[in-house]
């Protein structure tokens, strides 16, 4: 606060706010419109994240399709597992 006063901030006059105060005109107020649009987007994003529904396993990943054959060409390659 002290440093702001030293810069002369107390001499400046703030312009009056000409925006409507939030809550005075219902949904037409910009913050509320954004809130409403955001709320509508959430279910849409959730549905997008579920796509494609048919290949998903109940535990969240396409387990069965991830199974691969043992790669015989790579069996003797160096690896960093211990034991």
């Amino acid at each position: 606060m002290k440093s702001a006063m030293m810069r002369g901030a107390t001499n400046r006059t703030e312009p009056e706010q000409d925006r409507p105060t939030a809550g005075t005109d219902g949904l037409r107020s910009p913050p509320r419109r954004r809130l409403f649009a955001g709320a509508l987007m959430l279910p849409g994003l959730w549905l997008l994240g579920r796509w494609p529904w048919s290949t998903r396993s109940p535990c969240g990943g396409p387990i069965e399709t991830a199974l691969r054959d043992v790669p015989s060409a790579a069996l003797r390659r160096p690896h960093n597992l211990a034991g």
Binding site: L67, R68, V70, L75, G83
Partner: protein
């Protein structure tokens, strides 16, 4: 809702329907306990036997090595945490290999044995057991690389089809097991005694972590216990710690600490004590306990010279060297 109790390891997890046990891979599905990694390994490699490490079991041979996701221990310094501290659904790669396919691949690749390793074969017990039975029928040997945290009844059954085991004895201190691995010491000691009684060839590994389990008095107690309960010819491997997983605040084990531990264990009466994870260290070679003859010279996981006679004796004094050589 029917909960099931998993009786495989001392945790005795009570698993509600749809949930997994502490190991993440043994699951209650519709009131029945299922091993979700059965036939689904996430790591399959062909390694030298010395990498397990098994120094007195078919030295220099290639071992078909397999591991799945999951583990029933949660060591802060786990070296394979990307595999062991995950459930199957979290793995990037899962292979399709039922027991018959696994053994067939090992035979095709010219391996004489299969190692169940990388995570802990205890949590893929049924896969290990079924594969081991088929492997025996095809003339292959079976090796467990394990922390030995298992109940007695399933262990005795598994010992029927297992030929060798390297058991990771993490410390001779129950407090260390509780703090570092979320486990306890006694079941591991019981497992070692049972394996010995069931005729499984045993080697013991102790990963030395600076300041946590490198106390020489504790190492001496451990060596005495191994000498008295498992026999003085049981190989003991002191392995070098590297900062890993959730224990990155400690330095790698100094070579001098490994050498002091080795001297202490040999002084306590063990015949074969090795230094591991330290490339080129002379403590990785096998010497005759009677006359000191160099029997197997090793550099890292590789054998430079094998001077044992064909029936596993010292070529100079004819002392029989404990192990499975053929």
């Amino acid at each position: 809702m029917t909960a099931v109790v998993c009786e495989l390891c001392p945790r005795a997890c009570v698993i509600p329907e749809g949930a997994a046990g502490d190991c993440r891979v043994r699951v209650n599905l519709d009131g029945r306990l299922r091993a979700t990694t059965y036939g689904r390994p996430s790591a399959v490699h062909i390694d030298p036997m010395e990498k397990k490490p098994l120094y007195h079991f078919l030295p220099g041979s290639a071992v078909f090595s397999v591991g799945t996701a999951g583990c029933n221990l949660h060591c802060l310094n786990c070296q394979n945490w990307q595999l062991s501290q995950r459930g199957g659904e979290e793995m990037e790669g899962i292979f399709r290999a039922d027991p018959a396919e696994l053994v067939e691949t090992a035979v095709d690749e010219g391996c004489r044995s299969i190692a169940y390793t990388y995570s802990d074969p205890i949590v893929f017990y049924e896969y290990t057991y079924d594969s081991s039975e088929i492997a025996h029928a095809r003339g292959l040997r079976n090796c467990l690389i394990t922390a030995g945290y298992i109940n007695q009844a399933p262990l005795r059954r598994l010992c029927r089809v297992v030929d060798a085991a390297n058991v990771d004895l993490k410390a001779f201190d129950d407090g260390f097991y509780r703090r570092n691995s979320a486990a306890t010491l006694q079941p591991v000691l019981d497992a070692l005694v049972t394996m010995r009684a069931e005729g499984v060839w045993i080697e013991v590994t102790n990963l030395l972590i600076p300041t946590l389990n490198d106390d020489l008095a504790m190492i001496r107690r451990m060596a005495h216990w191994i000498r008295d309960e498992l026999g003085p010819t049981t190989p003991l491997h002191f392995s070098r710690f590297q900062p890993q997983y959730r224990m990155r605040n400690l330095p790698p084990t100094p070579a001098a600490a490994l050498e002091m531990a080795r001297d202490e264990a040999m002084d306590a009466g063990l015949s074969y004590v090795y230094v591991g994870n330290l490339m080129g260290h002379p403590g990785g070679s096998t010497h005759c306990p009677r006359d000191g003859t160099l029997l197997i010279a090793r550099t890292g996981f590789w054998i430079d010279a094998n001077n044992l006679t064909s029936d596993g004796r010292c070529p100079t004094c004819n002392e029989p060297i404990a192990g499975v050589w053929q």
